[in-house]
C-alpha cells in the first residue's frame, strides 16, 4: 500500500483514500434514500429541489463526519451537535451573533492578538473549534480541510457522472 498517509503530531493517522471511500459509500447510500423520499406533492418542483438540496448538503457533511468517526474533535463535535438538534430541536436555539465591536486603534494590537483574531475566525468555521486550544485547532483544521476537499471532489465526481 503506497497510500499517502500522514501522521499528525497527536498520532492521528490521516488517510485521504480510505476517508474518501468511506464517505462515498455513506453519501451514495443517503443519496439513494433521499431520492426515494416523497416530498409533499403540494410543493413546487423548485421548492422540492431546494428542500432536497438542503437534505443532500446535510447528508454530505454527516457522511463525512461519520466516515471520520469519533477520533477527531471536529467530527465528534459535529455529530454531537447534529444529534442534539434531532433529539431536542426545541432546546437548540438559533444563536444570533451579537457582535460588539470595540476595536481600539489597530496599531496597538500585538502580533499575537492578530493571531488570536484569525484563530477566532477559524474557530467559527471548524466544528467544535471554540473549545480547542490553538495547537489542536490548527491540527483539526488541517484534517477538516483535507476531508472537506475530499467531500467536494467526490460530490463533483458523482454530479459529473450523473450529468453524463
Amino acid at each position: 500500500m503506497s497510500s499517502s498517509t500522514t501522521t499528525t503530531t497527536s498520532g492521528v493517522t490521516l488517510n485521504p483514500k480510505s476517508c474518501r471511500i468511506k464517505f462515498a459509500r455513506r453519501f451514495l447510500r443517503s443519496l439513494a434514500q433521499i431520492k426515494k423520499q416523497k416530498l409533499p406533492s403540494s410543493s413546487s418542483s423548485e421548492e422540492e429541489i431546494r428542500m432536497r438540496s438542503k437534505g443532500i448538503k446535510m447528508a454530505a457533511y454527516y457522511s463525512m463526519a461519520r466516515a471520520v468517526g469519533p477520533r477527531m474533535n471536529w467530527s465528534r463535535a459535529f455529530l454531537f451537535k447534529l444529534r442534539n438538534r434531532v433529539r431536542h430541536p426545541k432546546l437548540v436555539k438559533k444563536k444570533k451573533k451579537k457582535r460588539v465591536i470595540m476595536r481600539s486603534n489597530k496599531a496597538s494590537r500585538s502580533v499575537s492578538s492578530v493571531h488570536m483574531d484569525r484563530g477566532n475566525k477559524l474557530r467559527e468555521l471548524v466544528p467544535g473549534g471554540k473549545s480547542m486550544d490553538f495547537c489542536s485547532l490548527l491540527e483539526e483544521t488541517a484534517h477538516y480541510i483535507t476531508c472537506l476537499s475530499t467531500q467536494v471532489k467526490v460530490m463533483q465526481a458523482i454530479a459529473d457522472h450523473l450529468s453524463k
Partner: protein, 92 residues
Amino acid sequence: MSSRRSRSRQSGGSRISDDQINDLVSKLQQLLPEIRNSRRSDKVSASTVLQETCNYIRSLHREVDDLSERLSELLATTDTAQAAVIRSLLLQ
C-alpha cells in the same frame, strides 16, 4: 551555571511550542491551493496562512452548497439505479 541552564530550558520550552505552531502552520499552508507553492522560507506570515485557511474553508463550504443543489437537480431527472454504477466507479 545551573541558573543559566534552567533559563535556557525555559526559553527552549516556549520555543518548542512556537516551533510546533510554526510546524502546524506550514503543514496547513501545504493544504491551501492559493499559497501551497510558496516555500517555507518565503514570506508567508502565519496570519496570512490563517486568513487563507478561513477563505479556503468558506470556498469549500460554498462548493458543497453548489454541488448539493446540482445533485438535487440531477436526482430529479436520473434513475436511482445509477447510484450502484457510481459506487462501483468510485470504489474500484
